[in-house]
């Protein structure tokens, strides 16, 4: 039983991580007034490029780096269309998602061929923290994660600090609320929004790479299963704060892990219903199940100077 619980928690955290990593980036984007549906596509690019990087350089970390840079490049396209051209953010986001599916599918088939046996890539292996990981149940589940997991959990207080206590964080929050007022105090609204979007891209790339190099250990076409959208939902659910996103992601992760558990345990409930668990949670979150939850006031509005 103890092993069961420990495995479950461990699985929940691992399922939560891609959503969490992507979500941290999205918090900054959302705070700057960007609705980033394109997160799904950014993450998919990251997932694919992570595999490519790891395959070419035989290092999961280099895979992550390649993934982050690639997703950032894609997010630059998103930024150009939404901030400079002032196109609708949701439309551009959907476009990016379709582009990402096409691009990764095509490139995957070109590079690795079709229907060949799974390619060999370097992926992350669990890293037990000496001492801590010996604690029963919690120790094994919390402290035998992959290296990026520790990194991300350490990043959460840092992200909170940056968002709420630094000058750049204040600018990001202000730009999402009232871009014109920011303009009048000399802030370059476009620069801040570009920065926030690029950072979202960077983190989405990381999230994607973790998905393929930490969680699944392979790349298949269409492997996202809506995790990017769930990250967007987690940001809303988490009331646009890093800590909130962490809690939201963990809840989603718990739902996901539950679904695996129940399936494996031969539940009487048809598996289709189990598969729905994370998505039902997402819908509840988006529907404002968390009570009054006002997003940034200038959400999704392009800033137009005179």
């Amino acid at each position: 039983m103890a092993i069961e619980i420990s495995n479950y928690i461990s699985m929940a955290i691992r399922s939560a991580l891609p959503i969490l990593i992507c979500g941290i980036g999205l918090v900054f984007g959302s705070r700057a007034g960007i609705v980033n549906i394109g997160a799904e596509g950014f993450m998919l690019i990251g997932a694919f490029m992570g595999v490519v990087g790891s395959y070419l350089f035989s290092s999961a970390w280099i895979g992550v780096l390649v993934a982050m840079l690639s997703s950032m490049l894609i997010s630059l396209i998103f930024a150009y269309f939404t901030v400079t051209v002032k196109a609708d953010q949701v439309v551009v986001g959907m476009g990016i998602n379709m582009l990402a599916i096409g691009l990764t599918t095509t490139l995957f088939r070109r590079l690795f061929g079709m229907n060949t046996e799974p390619i060999k890539i370097e992926s992350f292996s669990p890293l037990a923290i000496p001492g801590l990981s010996d604690i029963p149940i919690l120790g094994t589940s919390l402290f035998t994660q992959h290296a990026p997991a520790y990194l991300i959990f350490l990043c959460i207080p840092l992200a909170s600090f940056i968002l709420f206590r630094t000058d750049i964080g204040l600018k990001v929050r202000a730009v999402g609320e009232h871009p014109r007022a920011c303009d009048t105090v000399g802030i370059n609204v476009f620069k801040v929004r570009y920065g926030a979007i690029l950072f979202s891209g960077l983190m989405a790339g990381f999230a994607g790479a973790y998905l393929t190099l930490g969680l699944l250990n392979f790349f298949v076409e269409d492997l996202m299963a809506g995790r990017g959208y769930m990250a967007v939902a987690a940001v809303v659910f988490g009331k646009y704060s890093p800590v909130g996103v962490m809690l939201a992601a963990l809840i989603f992760g718990a739902g996901d892990a539950l679904q695996y558990r129940l399936q494996a345990g031969g539940s009487v409930i048809p598996y289709q219903f189990l598969l729905m668990i994370p998505y039902v949670l997402t819908i509840l979150a988006i529907c404002g199940f968390v009570g009054e939850n006002k997003g940034p006031a200038a959400m999704a509005q392009p800033y137009i100077k005179e």
Partner: protein
């Protein structure tokens, strides 16, 4: 040469020439007034100087150097600061965050505590107290105005542009504010001051530039101007009537009755304490008081925008606290809100659409759920003409109108509904003298045709001129009810400051 020179500035918006070949110069250290009717182009000219708009043609020279100001950042780098007509505050941020936002001096890790004590000290110099860690959305309009001024002063600018900074300040606040502006000018700062209140110009400014219909009318020395009538003539081009004709009120039945009303403010503290009064058909009840003494909360309770703790509010005998805002309006209530941007209009919708917000679902605005655009356009056109709303067309986005013209269409819309009860808060905020007099006469006309009017204003002169009875609010309660026309300004001023004169005069009937 002058410190600041704007040469042959022209600014064309689609359908409007807002500035037409304007030459404007200001000397170092002077307090220079910029006057003109609503829509004359004052804000536009200053927005060009501040880098918010780019001029279509013309040059700006500062200290004999030609400068290209393409963004507020460049203006700020040149030492220019601006208090905007429509506040540039971010409601979700705290006061101190609003003050330091975007400052070059900020360290990467913000020390808000230090900044807060600096700002409080700066504010104290001008007799202002602020709670730096309060969220800005909780502030009343007057408090926001003061915050904007502090924000500009804290930045230590060389040239300060003030676009209608006194529109919602009380006389006391205005005099403190003037002391501070004079001090700035003595220290060598240059101030450009936009206002519609001519006595302020006479009192404070050295020179004055007048714009009319986007063109430069003249620049005069205030010493050469005999009185405010002369200034008004320069602005409007003809003589202006300063007083409003008014006959004694003939009060009818009770329209609004409030008994022991208690409510809390946005901070959760008691804002209204056992407030009771009534307003009758055919009278104007003025609510005087320093801003922030419960007036905003009172109006919000009456219009269904704030929950009450206890008490009874009846409009035409119907108890309203449980009703939705729409139902209250349907009782025949009109509301001119204190903050036109927050509660009076939808910025991104056209003037025409803004004019039907309360009525779109009724005949003849719509039939069976379909809007009668043809009829609505005609109606909007009429209303704009009647209230002299200057706009290139009724299709213009409300946001693009000058501040005073936005106010005019809101007031027009509310008066046009022929209310049984008109709740008007700062109804002539930002209106030029002509428009102010017109609106005031319309309010009196509404009274004469049987409306009950609740007039809330921080401007004592307006209250005294229009009201048939006056209540004075202080710290959430009613400190005095005055129905003698002979009562003096000074006396009301004392009540507003919270002192209840000892000799209980017989016309003073304190509320239960």
């Amino acid at each position: 040469m002058a410190y600041l020179e704007m040469k042959q500035i022209t600014k064309v918006f689609p359908g409007v020439v807002a500035n037409d070949n304007i030459n404007f110069s200001v000397e170092k250290g002077e307090i220079h007034a910029l006057l003109g009717e609503n829509g004359a182009g004052k804000t536009t000219l200053m927005n060009i100087l501040y880098g918010l708009y780019r001029q279509t043609s013309g040059e700006i020279w500062i200290n004999d150097k030609k400068v290209a100001i393409t963004s507020p950042k460049e203006a700020i780098d040149l030492g220019i600061g601006m208090v905007h007509q429509h506040f540039m505050l971010i409601p979700a941020l705290t006061i101190i965050e609003n003050v330091v936002l975007g400052m070059k001096e900020n360290k990467q890790i913000l020390d808000l505590k230090r900044a807060a004590s600096d700002v409080c000290a700066e504010a104290a110099k001008y007799d202002m107290t602020i709670d730096p860690f309060m969220e800005t959305w909780k502030l009343s309009v007057g408090q926001q105005q003061r915050l904007e001024i502090i924000k500009a002063l804290y930045r230590g600018v060389k040239l300060l542009i003030l676009d209608e900074p006194t529109a919602v300040l009380t006389p006391q606040e205005v005099s403190v504010f003037f002391t501070m502006v004079r001090k700035l000018s003595e220290e060598g700062h240059t101030v450009i001051f936009i206002t519609h209140k001519l006595p302020e110009v006479m009192q404070l400014c050295g020179r004055c530039t007048v714009l009319r219909h986007g063109k430069l009318e003249t620049t005069v020395n205030i010493n050469d101007v005999k009185n405010k009538q002369e200034l008004a003539r320069l602005m409007v081009g003809k003589d202006v009537e300063f007083s409003v004709q008014k006959t004694p009120a003939v009060p009818g039945e009770e329209v609004l009755s409030i008994k022991n009303l208690n409510a809390r403010n946005n901070k959760g503290l008691p804002a209204l304490k056992n407030v009771s009064f009534d307003v009758h058909a055919g009278e104007i009840l003025g609510v005087a008081g320093v801003d922030g003494n419960g007036q905003s909360e009172l109006v919000e309770c009456l219009t269904g925008l704030r929950k009450i703790d206890s008490g009874v509010i009846r409009i035409m005998g119907v108890e309203i606290p449980k009703l939705a805002a729409r139902t209250i309006l349907e009782q025949g209530v009109s509301h001119i809100p204190e903050d036109r941007h927050r509660r009076g209009m939808l910025k991104d919708m056209s003037v025409k659409e803004n004019l039907i917000l309360m009525n779109y679902f009724k005949e003849p605005y719509s039939t069976k759920g379909f809007l009668n655009w043809k009829w609505i356009s005609g109606y909007a056109q009429e209303l704009c003409k009647e209230f002299n709303v200057k706009t290139p067309s009724i299709e213009e986005k409300a946001d693009k109108l000058s501040g005073g013209n936005q106010q005019k269409f809101i007031v027009g819309r509310e008066l046009e509904r022929k209310p049984k009860l008109l709740i008007a808060m700062h109804p002539d905020r930002g209106l030029d003298i002509g428009a102010t007099k017109y609106i005031q006469s319309r309010i009196v006309a509404a009274r004469d045709s049987g409306s009950a009017v609740l007039l809330v204003s921080t401007e004592l002169d307006e209250i005294m001129e229009l009201s048939d009875r006056i209540i004075v609010m202080y710290e959430g309660g009613i400190i005095g009810l005055i129905d003698d026309p002979q009562v003096t300004r000074e006396y009301i001023g004392l009540l507003m400051a919270g002192t209840r004169p000892q000799d209980s005069l017989e016309w003073m009937s304190p509320c239960p």
